[in-house]
Each structure stands twice: as C-alpha cells, then as structure tokens.
C-alpha cells in the first residue's frame, strides 16, 4: 500500500471502502458522498495530485451498485499515479461534479453523462458532447444494444455485431 492510500484509508475511515493495488495500480474506492473531499485531499500538498488525467465510468449491469466512476490522478512532484473510484446506484445515477476541483473535469463529465447517463450535480453545462443533441439513450450502458445500420448492397445479410465473437463466460479456476 502506498502512503497516499494509507492516508485516504485513515482519513476517510468507513467511507474509503476498498483499498487495493491490483497489478501495481494504487486504487481507493470512496463513498459517493465523500468523493469531492477525497479529491481535494489528494490534490492538496503534500500529495499534490494536481492533474486529473482521466475521468470515466463503467457499467456493471445487472449488478448493483450499477456504475463505477473512475478518476485517474497524477502527481508530477511524486511521479505517482492514483486511481479513485466511487460506486453509483443504477436507480439514482447522480454524483457531485468535480469541475470546481479540476477544471478539466468539465468535458469528461459531459462525456460520462452522454454515454452513461450519469448526472453530475453542480456541473456548469451538462450537455451531450459526442452524440447528437437529440439522441435517445446512453450508448455505453451494458443494456444498450450494439446494432448495425442496414445497407442496400445486394447479398449482404447483416450480422448482429454482438454475435460475431461468441461470448465465453469466465472460466472456473
């Protein structure tokens, strides 16, 4: 465990839910209510995780809590990376916006809203960013199907893209 993980585990107690380092990636999962506090705490010195390199999400459908928001931070002074995650429930996909802590979160959060339908409270301009404004649905959700547009070539029978590679579930070890 890296010092910053120990610090977060101590400072946030129960709210720092999981602390691990799978394949050397220092990771801390923090409760949704405390996420901004955690980001501010690691941004401040002595940790100086000043750069938010990435903010994204992934969908665990149908498992609850459904979404997990992932923040990738970088400290230039310590030459260290840190991943902070927070779970968000599927029936209430809202969490506080990190724009006031990291200005660069603005577009990342718009992208997460666009593709996952997770709202960020306090975001200055939460609109779609990649998909057209009038698009319905949030494409990166696991229950949003991957489809193919019909084409008019003769002899072309479109395959359902999701069936090109058969899904093989995890093997029992």
């Amino acid at each position: 465990m890296t010092p910053v993980q120990e610090f977060l585990a101590e400072r946030f107690g129960e709210a720092a839910m999981v602390v691990h380092a799978f394949r050397g990636d220092a990771t801390v999962t923090v409760a949704r209510e405390r996420i901004l506090d955690a980001l501010r705490a690691v941004k401040a010195r002595p940790w100086a995780f000043e750069m938010l390199l990435d903010l994204t999400a992934w969908d665990r459908h149908p498992v609850e809590p459904r979404f997990e928001i992932v923040y990738h931070l970088l400290s230039l002074e310590r030459t260290q990376r840190l991943r902070i995650k927070t779970p968000v429930a599927g029936d209430d996909p809202v969490l506080p916006s990190a724009v006031e802590v990291f200005a660069g979160a603005e577009w990342f959060e718009r992208e997460v809203w666009d593709l996952f339908g997770i709202r960020f409270e306090g975001h200055p301009d939460l609109r779609r960013i990649l998909m057209p404004d009038d698009w319905e649905g949030h494409p990166l959700r696991r229950d949003y199907p991957l489809t193919e547009e019909p084409v008019e070539f003769r002899g072309h029978v479109p395959k359902v893209p999701s069936e090109i590679v058969p899904h093989v579930p995890p093997r029992r070890r």
Binding site: R23, E50, D54, T56, V70, G104, L130, L140, H167
Partner: protein, 390 residues
C-alpha cells in the same frame, strides 16, 4: 446611443484549418475573440462500445483507427494494458522493436503536424517536403507490417513477426538524411519573421491552466512542465536509452513548435541507440495460453495449431480486474483503462485521449486573441479528431 454588440460565427465543421471535423462557435468583438466554444463529436464512431464485443486480439485492429497518425502508439498502449492485466512479460527484443516503430512513428506524426501547420500559415511548399520524409516512414511501416497506415503489427505479448531483411539499411538511410532535412526546415522557419510573428506570444497556455485541464504532451512541455511518460513511467525499455525532454518557457505556439522540432531529433537519437543494441531472441512471449504461436511453429507442432485455433476463435481470458497503461504518444499521454470480468471480451475499454484534453484548453488559449490566431492555436495543439471523438 451606441450599443456594443458581439458577432457569433461558426468556424467549421468543414474548415481546412481545423484538421478534421471540428466546429468552433466563436463570439467576436471586432476581430477579438470574446469566447470560443468547441463542438465535437462529428467523428464519433463508438469504438469503445465496439471493443466490448470483440476479443482482445481483434481490438488491435480497432485501436489503430483512433489516433490514425500514430497507430503504433495506439497499439502499444492497448497491448501494454492487456499485458498488465494478464501479468505477462514481453521479450526484450519485442520491446525494442516496438520502441523503434513508436519513435519512427513519432517523427512521422510530427512531420504531418509541421506540414499541415505550414499549409495553415501559407507555407505550402513545406507540406511537400514533410510528406517526402514521411513517405520514408510509410515505406518502412509497409516493410515491417504490410501496411502503410493502421499496421496492426503489435500482438498481445510481442509483435507479429521479426523485422524483415532490408529494414536496417532503410531506417539508417532515413535517419541519416533526416537531420539535414530538419535543418533545412528550421532554416526556413525558425528565424523567419512572418513565422515568428504568427507564433510568438500567440495561444499562450499558462502552466497552471495546463495542469488544470490535464493537458499533456508537447503542449504541456511547451508551457514549461517537463512531464513525459517515457521518463516518468518508463515502459518497453525506454529507461535503457538516453534522450532529453525538450521544454519550452513561454507556453506559446512558438515554444510548442520548438519542442516538437527537438523531439524529432531526440526520437532519431533513441532509434539509433536501439538499432545498435537490438537484442536477439523471440519476438513474442512464450506463454501459449495468451500469445499467438509464431507461424513457423504451426507447421511442426499440433499443440501450436490447437493454441492458435483457441486464441483466434475464442480469445484470451484475462483474470478479473482492471489495469491502466499509458504511453507518450506524439500528442501526449495516451492511456488505456481496461476492465475484465474474466471472460473473453473486455467489459470496458476506456481510451484516455490526449487530444480530447488538449482541445479543452483551446478556449483558454485563444480568448482575447485575434481571429486569425485561432488557426495557429489549433495547429499548435496538433489535434487528431479521431482521437478527440473516438
């Protein structure tokens, strides 16, 4: 009574100097920019979604298409992330081959940037010169992978096959003439009055803003912050070679130009060292449960055929977990965050695109500047719209 009014205009999405389909909504007062709002998504192809439905090997074909000017970096970052997830080691020779191709690709990508910047600033002959040099890289790429662009040469655990005969003299002759050509371009531009007036003090990005927006690559280094993934988190044997990280001082377009010009020379330096010290050995990991067997084995070993069949039809099963791996692409930190549930397809592949973050800093760069300087600003951050929209 006089009223002050601002004029709102659209630049793009089809504009020759936006380097792709980028639209900027600009609010102008006279020729001064009051606000700039980039509108993106015109090139969104849903690659991240698509990758959830393909096997890990098939995805190599898709990642090439994201940052299409530097496909080798794209493959490198993706393969590193999957290898991290699997916990496998890439043989030394494969690491160095990857490194050579990436550095050559960086030179080629920067040449495209230089040429297109020249076009934007009406130095149209420059594009011809730059593409002449880039053509050499294209030939090298075709020699190595069979493709000029979108090579698909890297494999999980190594590379597809060893370097071909004729590769070494070809690369050496390319690198031999490169410094002379770069000197020519610099003689044409670096102290050219028009070039300097268009670049100096234009599109300034302060270090604090660069950090706040998560800007990386030559744009960050132009602002005076020496962050380079190759130095900070060395991957694929970068720590074995000597090179310098050029850093600017003023954070303007001119410093970014100087940084990129120097980066090409440093890339050449890395490749020359790597060519001299290229180790012998296999070019793909020998764990046959995850890495494709070399073609020569397929004619001799039944087991290799079975492994090949399983890997191609079903794919690999990384253990459940998540991994983030990043490389220094010509535009900045290119990262892949992959989540696996233990099945043969990734649950989530997130592409951390440097152009996306760099473009977000554009409004800060151009605010208060002149309309004509927007062209310079866009050229100086060197965006690839495929990378922005994915």
């Amino acid at each position: 009574m006089l009223t002050r009014q601002t004029l709102t205009i659209n630049m793009g999405p089809q504009h020759p100097s936006t380097h792709g389909v980028l639209r900027l909504v600009l609010e102008l007062e006279g020729e001064t920019i009051v606000s700039c709002r980039p509108v993106i998504g015109y090139l969104h192809t849903g690659i991240e979604k698509e990758m959830e439905f393909r096997s890990y090997h098939q995805n190599i074909t898709l990642v090439d298409r994201i940052e299409y000017l530097s496909s080798y970096h794209e493959e490198m970052a993706y393969c590193l992330a999957v290898e991290k997830l699997l916990g496998i080691e890439v043989p030394k020779r494969a690491q160095v081959i990857r490194l050579i191709m990436c550095e050559l690709n960086r030179i080629a990508s920067h040449l495209v940037w230089l040429g297109t910047t020249g076009i934007d600033l009406n130095v149209s002959s420059l594009l011809m010169y730059c593409f002449r040099d880039r053509e050499q890289f294209m030939e090298i790429s075709e020699m190595v992978s069979g493709q000029r662009m979108m090579p698909g040469y890297f494999r999980i655990g190594g590379v597809q096959w060893d370097l071909p005969e004729g590769f070494f003299p070809k690369v050496r002759s390319f690198l031999e003439e490169l410094p002379r050509h770069l000197d020519e371009y610099e003689a044409m531009l670096t102290d050219n009055l028009i070039w300097r007036e268009r670049h100096e003090g234009v599109a300034v990005l302060r270090p604090a803003d660069a950090l706040a927006y998560g800007v990386t690559g030559p744009v960050l280094r132009g602002s005076g912050i020496a962050y380079d993934v190759r130095k900070a988190f060395p991957y694929s044997s970068y720590d074995d070679y000597e090179f310098d990280v050029p850093v600017g001082r003023n954070g303007d377009a001119y410093d970014r130009y100087l940084v990129r010009m120097e980066e090409m020379r440093q890339s050449r330096r890395i490749v020359l060292q790597a060519l001299d010290r290229l180790p012998d050995g296999p070019v793909i990991a020998d764990d046959r449960k995850v890495a494709l067997p070399p073609r020569a084995e397929l004619v001799r070993s039944m087991e290799a055929v079975i492994h090949q069949f399983k890997l191609v039809s079903e794919g690999i099963h990384p253990p459940p977990g998540e991994a983030y791996a990043a490389v220094e692409s010509p535009r900045g930190e290119k990262g892949y965050y992959i989540v696996s549930d233990g099945s043969n397809r990734p649950v989530r592949v997130r592409v951390r695109a440097p152009s996306f973050s760099n473009l977000q800093a554009l409004p800060t760069m151009v605010r208060g500047g002149m309309l004509a300087d927007v062209v310079v600003a866009i050229a100086s951050i060197d965006i690839v719209l495929g990378d922005v929209d994915r």
